[in-house]
């Protein structure tokens, strides 16, 4: 099996994978980073969103080998020293999560938006989240959380 190496949450990792191994499988199964979830098989739900070289991507639609040499950040890499990242804190503060399954992808997607737009409007957030499906919250509190989280990230 081919070897793959990348930097995940700041740590260099390597592994042997099949050609068909998806990045999300590598993260979950080889590295045990089970915070990244799989909610669909058509690249739509966004539960698997991670950052690849600083941009949000769907890790269920990337081969592990395509990420060879890349820098990957997952939900596990966001909080530092037990302190929630401002976006994570905003989700908690605004009750932007219920069952928690879509949450990692939602937060990773939101952080990418905030890095481009520090003060997104409600419409900006709703349009940005096209690729993240939540079945629990009706998005109401997610939208509030993303707006607040983006503003907090500017500080």
């Amino acid at each position: 099996m081919p070897a793959v190496s990348m930097t995940v949450n700041g740590k260099a990792v390597t592994g042997n994978v099949e050609g068909r191994t998806l990045l999300v499988q590598f993260l979950r199964e080889n590295l045990g980073l089970t915070g990244t979830h799989v909610g669909c098989d058509t690249s739509q739900c966004g539960a698997c969103v991670v950052h690849l070289d600083g941009k949000s991507v769907k890790s269920c639609t990337i081969l592990a080998l395509q990420a060879n040499g890349a820098k990957v950040t997952t939900i596990e890499g966001l909080a530092s020293n037990g302190e929630l990242h401002p976006m994570q804190a905003a989700f908690r503060e605004h009750h932007g999560l219920q069952c928690g399954f879509c949450t990692p992808g939602m937060v990773m997607s939101a952080v990418d938006l905030a890095s481009q737009n520090g003060d997104p409007s409600e419409q900006d957030v709703r349009e940005w989240l096209e690729g993240n499906i939540c079945r629990c919250t009706g998005y109401h509190n997610i939208v509030k959380a993303v707006q607040a989280g983006a503003r907090a990230m500017r500080r």
């Binding site: 799989v38 929630l84 219920q98 928690g100 709703r126 349009e127 629990c136 009706g138 998005y139």
Partner: protein, 794 residues
């Protein structure tokens, strides 16, 4: 109210793990030596299995075993049971066909379970499944609900003549007929409540493990009710005693009903793990979820409302065909009967109601409870009918509702369809909602939209539901094959912290926070000292799980009872420590005091005394401080309220946008208003989704599921919705100790008709009077085109 007690908008205890990726869902669990299962599913809606050849698959790389329905049958294991027996009008029991986890002779819907391949990796299991050859003889399926009873329809089961499962009724037919005979006006309506797919974001998954040393089976599974799965799978399917069967429901990523039921994969994995002596994991791909999770709704109904000349309701007559799918799922049969027919009074004082329901089999995936379960169908029917009646009677839509509301002073109110409502205030919820939605300013907004070429519409729904499922004696007399009480255990530890064990299960509802708040209020301790445990049959005495908005009303009431027992015993210990009479001991804010004195002991000292009983009333009391309570409710609870939807519609494209949505609900006592609002928001999204976006679509001829992925099944997304205005106006439940009614389903139950009524209000100027759900842009455009000739002729 304290900062952490009942009524406080406490941030959730469970959030930290979910936000940092540390939640543990079933697919995150791995057992040593684990194998992987892949289920080979039927590609046909109806076919005879002439032969299956698994020999090549068994030889494939990594394959551990391949089992078929014949292997399962040879082991003498049972089928999946149905939990509710319905009797037909003539007293005969419903037709209950077999439901084997792996079929041996016929497949009856696409996705039906044909074989299981178990291999060292998931990919190997799937690779090998392609090597199984199944020789099918395709048969003509019956697919559409409305077709199932037709004489020409294909038959799903030989024992169910005409595809009829049962022909049930409720109410006084003679009284209804008499009322119709003297009616000044009758409003008639035909409608379809389309099939939906729950689509919890976490696909179903299971890991089965068998301990060869102890003979104990452990199944980690995505369920809303682990004890129910243990009971059903242990007693009815695999004949494993409870003492040897542990069910764990870890973090579960949403349920909405679809994870209540005992599924074939759970039984297949547990059975196979025992045969192989190795752990097995199965995780559904989303496309599998579409064809194997029980689906929801799917009614075809005709309704008639008799009124006097002033629009006062005299009687309601409803006839419904309810689609069960190919098999009877766990609670399928009670949904269109006791969770539907009994709700047809709604918030109205209709004196006579008669409903008949024919449940039918079709070659489709099984249908069962989905958020609201029966109650959304009843509410949709009633609220559409009331709107149509108002139009026909030329009455204001609000006025006709007010005129027919059950009055504030009429509680307890006995409906003509079995239920007795304990409390409610429908006039107030309507009034508050009208103000919050600025109904008075609507015509101005409508005119402003018209100037931009858009159509605005306003829609109302004044609804009621029965939840807090359920009083055991009542439901037992109606055919339920289980009790529906709940349990709670409170374990006070020696140093004063508390672990609470609940038989309910949280898969998003936030029980770890809400139940901790009740304990915090009662025992006067900080939330950090309280842990709430759920989802493991080896930890929790017993439980019936979470569905039907029951966790707080039933499980919370059990907690109150258990806490009563704890404080009663603790008071006796405190009395001993303070050398006082127990009758004089008061307990407040975590401190026991002797009334009228300055003597006191903190709760922590009492707890320590209970476990280090050096100075203890040992002849009167056992050491320890741990109590369990079972709570069986006396009645259902009856949340209700008013939902008002405002839509803006683009007549060129048919696109409907919800621009304002106001929900004012009566949910009884609120423990955590933040969580209550979140529950309402989520329910609204699902209710709006049903109205505008979602629908399970099967090909009528072949039974193929056309909406088999998110490419075709339209899930509500952030840009499909708006921010909501939600509020509560609460009357207390009179028969449980918390006064809470439940909130999990109100959003999904109340909202759907408000949306469709708004769409029809917007389209009324174009002459459109009816539309089917989901009101997609395509359907709205078609409705506009269809109304054009008549409108032009006016």
């Amino acid at each position: 109210m304290t900062e952490t007690g009942i009524g406080a908008a406490v941030k959730r205890k469970e959030d930290f793990r979910f936000l940092t990726g540390r939640g543990t869902y079933t697919d995150d669990i791995n057992r040593h030596g684990q194998t992987y299962a892949y289920i080979l599913r039927s590609p046909h809606a109806s076919a005879k299995i002439k032969s299956i050849d698994t020999s090549k698959a068994k030889q494939a790389p990594g394959v551990v075993a391949v089992f078929t329905g014949a292997d399962y049958a040879a082991d003498g294991k049972g089928g999946l049971p149905c939990g509710w027996l319905i009797h037909s009008k003539d007293g005969s029991p419903m037709v209950e066909p077999p439901h084997p986890p792996l079929v041996a002779d016929f497949v009856r819907h696409i996705g039906d379970h044909v074989a299981v391949v178990i291999a060292e990796t998931k990919a190997q299991a799937r690779d090998a499944a392609e090597l199984i050859t199944v020789d099918y003889e395709e048969l003509k399926p019956v697919v559409d609900t409305a077709d199932a009873l037709k004489p020409s329809a294909a038959q799903v089961w030989p024992q169910a003549k005409g595809n009829l499962c049962y022909d049930w009724h409720l109410g006084d037919k003679a009284a209804v007929d008499a009322a119709f005979a003297k009616a000044a006006h009758v409003t008639k309506l035909d409608l379809v409540n389309q099939r939906l797919i729950a689509n919890a974001m976490e696909p179903r998954a299971a890991v089965a493990d068998f301990d060869r040393a102890t003979g104990e089976y452990t199944l980690y599974t995505t369920t809303q009710n682990p004890h129910v799965i243990r009971l059903l799978m242990g007693a009815f399917v695999l004949q494993i005693p409870e003492s040897k069967l542990r069910i764990v429901a870890p973090d579960v990523g949403g349920g909405f009903g679809s994870k209540i039921f005992h599924y074939a994969e759970e039984a297949i994995l547990t059975w196979a793990a025992g045969k192989l002596g190795r752990p097995i994991k199965w995780t559904a791909e989303r496309s599998e979820s579409f064809m194997s999770d029980a689906q929801g709704r799917d009614h075809v109904s005709h309704a008639e409302l008799a009124m006097d000349k002033d629009g006062k309701f005299l009687a309601l007559r409803v006839s419904t065909i309810a689609n069960m799918g190919a098999y009877l799922s766990t609670f399928a049969t009670c949904v269109p009967t006791y969770l539907y027919g009994t709700l047809l009074a709604g918030v109205y004082a209709t004196p006579a109601i008669y409903v008949e329901v024919k449940a039918v089999f079709t070659n489709t995936v099984a249908v069962d409870a989905y958020r609201g379960a029966g109650r959304p169908e009843a509410t949709y029917l009633l609220e559409r009918l009331v709107d149509k009646a108002a139009r026909e009677m030329k009455m204001d839509r609000i006025e006709i509702r007010r005129k027919n509301f059950i009055p504030r002073d009429a509680f307890p109110y006995q409906t003509p369809v079995a239920l007795q409502y304990d409390s409610g205030d429908y006039h107030s919820t309507l009034e508050i909602a009208e103000k919050k939605a600025d109904v008075a300013g609507f015509e101005k907004r409508r005119a402003e939209a018209k100037a931009r070429g858009k159509l605005r519409g306003l829609g109302f729904s004044t609804y009621l539901e029965a939840c807090g499922i359920a009083p055991s004696a009542v439901v037992g007399s109606l055919g339920a094959r289980a009790g529906l009480y709940e349990t709670a255990s409170v374990r006070v530890h020696p140093t004063g912290s508390v672990t609470m064990f609940t038989g309910t299960h949280s898969h998003g509802q936030g029980h770890e926070t809400t139940f901790a708040q009740i304990i915090s209020s009662t025992l006067g301790m900080p939330l950090e000292s309280i842990e709430v445990v759920h989802g493991d049959t080896n930890k929790i005495p017993f439980g019936m799980g979470t569905y039907g908005s029951r966790s707080l009303a039933v499980g919370g009431s059990a907690l109150v009872k258990a806490l009563d027992k704890v404080t009663t015993k603790a008071k006796r210990i405190a009395a001993h420590l303070m050398e006082a009479n127990v009758a004089d001991v008061e307990f407040k804010d975590g401190v026991f005091k002797v009334a009228g004195t300055d003597k006191s002991v903190p709760f922590g000292q009492v707890a320590l005394t209970a476990y280090v009983p050096h100075n203890y009333p040992i002849t009167e009391l056992e050491p320890g401080l741990e109590e369990t309570a079972f709570y069986d409710p006396l009645n259902f609870t009856y949340p209700g309220g008013c939902h008002i939807c405002e839509v803006e519609l683009d007549p060129e494209t048919g696109v409907t946008q919800v621009v304002n949505f106001t929900a004012v609900d009566d949910v009884g006592r609120v423990i955590n208003p933040m969580i209550v609002e979140g529950q309402v928001h989520g329910g609204l999204a699902q209710g709006i989704g049903q109205a505008l976006l979602e629908g399970a679509v099967y090909d009528s001829g072949t039974g193929q599921l056309l909406s088999g992925s998110y490419m075709d099944y339209c899930m509500p997304r952030a840009d499909d919705l708006c921010s909501f205005t939600v509020a509560t106006h609460n009357t207390m439940c009179t028969h449980n100790p918390l006064g809470s009614k439940g909130v999990g389903e109100v959003g999904a139950i109340g909202s759907t008709p408000a949306v469709i009524n708004a769409v029809l209000d917007a389209l009324a100027p174009l002459g459109v009077t009816d539309i089917t759900m989901p009101a997609t842009p395509h359907k709205v455009w078609q409705a506009i085109q269809a109304a054009k000739p008549a409108k032009a002729a006016e």
